[in-house]
Symmetry: C3
C-alpha cells in the first residue's frame, strides 16, 4: 500500500498516481492533497494524526516549498513503514510515531521539471521503495544512510499546575482550533477554562453546548481544541496557526 | 466493497481508511467527504442519490452532530447492502431505497475520542460488518436488533393539479437548487412555470437556454431543479436549503 | 484501469463509480472532479498534463456543457489508451498526446436523465470499452467509426526571436498562471523577462525568489508559468484564463 499526501490540490496528484502505476500495482490511498500550502509544520502535524492508523505502508509525502533547489530527497524507515519526501522535516514527526527511525538520502538526477518533483522524483522513488520492501531499502540504488537531514519537532506547550502556555498547531476544515496543549489538563479543570483570559466552558463533546456556543474540549488528536458547536472556532476565538494560546484552570 | 461518506473534509477520512485497512482488504470507495457540515437531512438526500447505483456493499456514513453523546450506533441491513453510522436518521432514507430494512444497534465501549467516532467506532464496525457479510450481521458481537431508532423521512411536496408546494432539499456544487417536487409535474407544464410567483422557462436540458439564463428542469434525481445555464441557480433564485418553493403551471 | 475526470465536484462522481462497479472490476482512479466548470478547453489542457503519465487505461471524461442536447458521445482510441466522453473536443488534445487517434461514435438511447449523462451514458460506455479491451472497440454494439466530430486544438503562441505573444491557458490551484508559451524561450532570456511590458525576474525554481515575489519560470507542463513564491500569480499579475500574455526578452 502507498499513501499519498501533498498540498497539490487538483489535478497534479493524478500525474503522480499515473507515474506510480507505471512502476507498481500497490494500492494507492490518498491521505490528503489539501494540506495547507507549503506549510511544512501543518503537514507534519496532520501526518502524525493519520499515518499511525495505517497498517505497514509506504507513505509518499510532498509538501515542498524548496522544490527545484538543492534540498535532498529522503527515504525514512520507521518500524515497518517507509516515508518518502523532501528533506525539510515534514516526514520526521510522523516517522517517530511509527517506529524506530532510520534516514536515507535518495540521490536523484535533475528531473524533467524544477517545479514538480512529486511526479518526477518522489513518486518513482516511493514506487521503488515499495517494490523493494521496507526491510530492503539499503539494497536500492541511489540510497545512502544519512545523519545530515533537516529535523522538525512540533512545538511543545509549557504546562504548569494551573496554567499552560501553548500555541495553535492547525485549524481543521470544521474551523476547530487544534492547540499543542495536552488534553490531560482538562481533567484538572472545572466547568470553565480561561482561554487567553476569557472564560470558556469545557465539554466532553460538541453536542454538550448549544449551537453557536464556544467550548474547550479534547480533540481526536488528544490535544486541547477550541471549537464552536456547529460553527467555526477559528472565527469565534480569533485564532490562527502559530498564535499563542494561554489556558488557566 | 466499503463506501465512505462523511462531512469531514480533509484529512480526517484518511484515519478512517487506515483503521479500515487494519481490519479488511475490502475495496474502499469514497462517496463524499464534503457533505454539508452536520446536516443530517442533506446527507440523507445525497445518499439516496448515490448508494442505489452501487452493487451490494457496506456503506460507512458519518454525519454526526451528536458525536460523543449517548446517541447509539446503528447497523442497517437493506437488501444486500449494509449501512453503518450514527442513530440520527441519516441512514434510513437511502436504506429504504436499497431494500427491505432491518435495524440493529451496535453496542460500543467508550472510544479513544469523544469527537471522532468515525475513526474509533464506525470504521471498526463497518469493517466487521463487511467481513461477516450482510447476511450474517446477527452473528456479530455487540449487535442487537432494535425498533427504537431515530427515523427520518425527506419532506414530501404537496402536489395539486396546477400547483405544487415544496421546498429546497439541497444546493449542489454547481449551484443547482434541488427541490422535493417530483419532476413529473413539468410534463403537465407549458413553456414556463411560475416559481414563487415569477415565470421561468422550462427546459429539458441546461443547454436549451442561453448562458446566464434561468431555467426549471428535471434533475438527475428526478426532482424539479432550478438552475442557471453556466451559472448558479441558488444565487439567481435567492434560495437555500429548507426554503419554500411554490410552483404553478 | 479506468480513470475518471469531470467538473462535477461532490458527490455526483460517486454515482458514476457505482455504475462502473456494476459493470466492471477495473481499478478506478480519479484524475479530478474539480476541473473548471463547463470549461472544455481547461479540461482538455489538464488531460494533456495527466493522462500521458498513466499506463494504458480507459479514461472517462465528462465536462459536458451540451448535456441533454443532440451532441454525440465519443470513444477515442489513442495508442493503447481509450477515451470516452462527449463530442465537444475535450478528448482530442490528450488523445493526440497518447498515440495514434481513431474516433468512434457511441450511439445511445435516451437515458434516464437529461442532466447526468456521466452516470447514464458515459460510465456504462466506459465500462464496456474497458471490458472489451482497447483493441476490440470495433466489436462493441453501438459503435461506429466517425470522421465527423468536434475537434479542439489548444491555442499556440506566436514565438519570435525576442518576443512571444501567447495567452493564459489555465490557473492552477496554487494560483500559478499557465501560459501557452513554450518554456524554451526562457533559455534565451536573461535575468528578467518583460511580461505585458513589465520586467519580472526569471527563476529555475520558486524558491529562488523571496516569499511574495513574482517570477517567470518553466512549469511542470513545459510552458512558461507566471508565479509568486508562496503566493498567487493570478492575483499578482492580474491575469485569468484566456487573457493575452506578451513576453519580451
Amino acid at each position: 500500500m502507498i499513501t499519498l499526501s501533498s498540498d497539490f490540490g487538483d489535478p497534479y496528484p493524478a500525474a503522480m498516481k499515473g507515474v506510480l502505476r507505471t512502476h507498481t500495482d500497490a494500492e494507492l490511498i490518498d491521505v490528503s492533497h489539501r494540506f495547507p500550502r507549503q506549510d511544512v509544520r501543518a503537514a507534519a502535524f496532520w501526518l502524525t494524526q493519520t499515518l499511525p492508523y495505517f497498517p505497514p505502508a509506504t507513505h509518499l509525502v510532498v509538501v515542498d516549498p524548496g522544490v527545484g533547489t538543492e534540498r535532498a530527497a529522503l527515504v525514512v524507515r520507521a518500524g515497518e513503514h517507509a516515508l518518502v519526501g523532501p528533506d525539510n522535516g515534514v516526514l520526521l514527526p510522523a516517522a517517530r510515531e511509527l517506529g524506530n527511525v532510520e534516514v536515507f538520502e535518495w540521490h536523484y538526477d535533475a528531473p524533467a521539471s524544477n517545479t514538480f518533483h512529486g511526479r518526477d522524483v518522489f513518486a518513482p522513488a516511493a514506487a521503488q521503495v515499495h517494490e523493494a520492501g521496507v526491510e530492503n531499502i539499503e539494497s536500492l540504488d541511489h540510497i545512502e544512510p544519512t545523519d545530515d537531514y533537516v529535523d522538525l519537532a512540533l512545538p511543545e506547550a509549557d504546562v504548569g499546575a494551573t496554567e499552560a502556555a501553548g500555541e495553535v498547531l492547525v485549524v481543521d476544515d470544521f474551523g476547530n482550533v487544534v492547540t499543542n496543549v495536552p488534553g490531560e489538563v482538562l481533567a484538572r479543570a472545572g466547568e470553565t477554562v480561561a482561554v487567553n483570559g476569557e472564560a470558556v466552558p469545557t465539554a466532553r463533546a460538541y453536542a454538550e453546548r448549544g449551537p453557536g456556543e464556544r467550548l474547550v474540549t479534547v480533540g481526536s488528536h488528544g490535544n486541547v481544541e477550541l471549537a464552536v458547536r456547529e460553527g467555526r472556532g477559528d472565527d469565534a476565538f480569533g485564532l490562527a496557526p502559530g498564535d499563542a494560546v494561554g489556558l488557566e484552570w
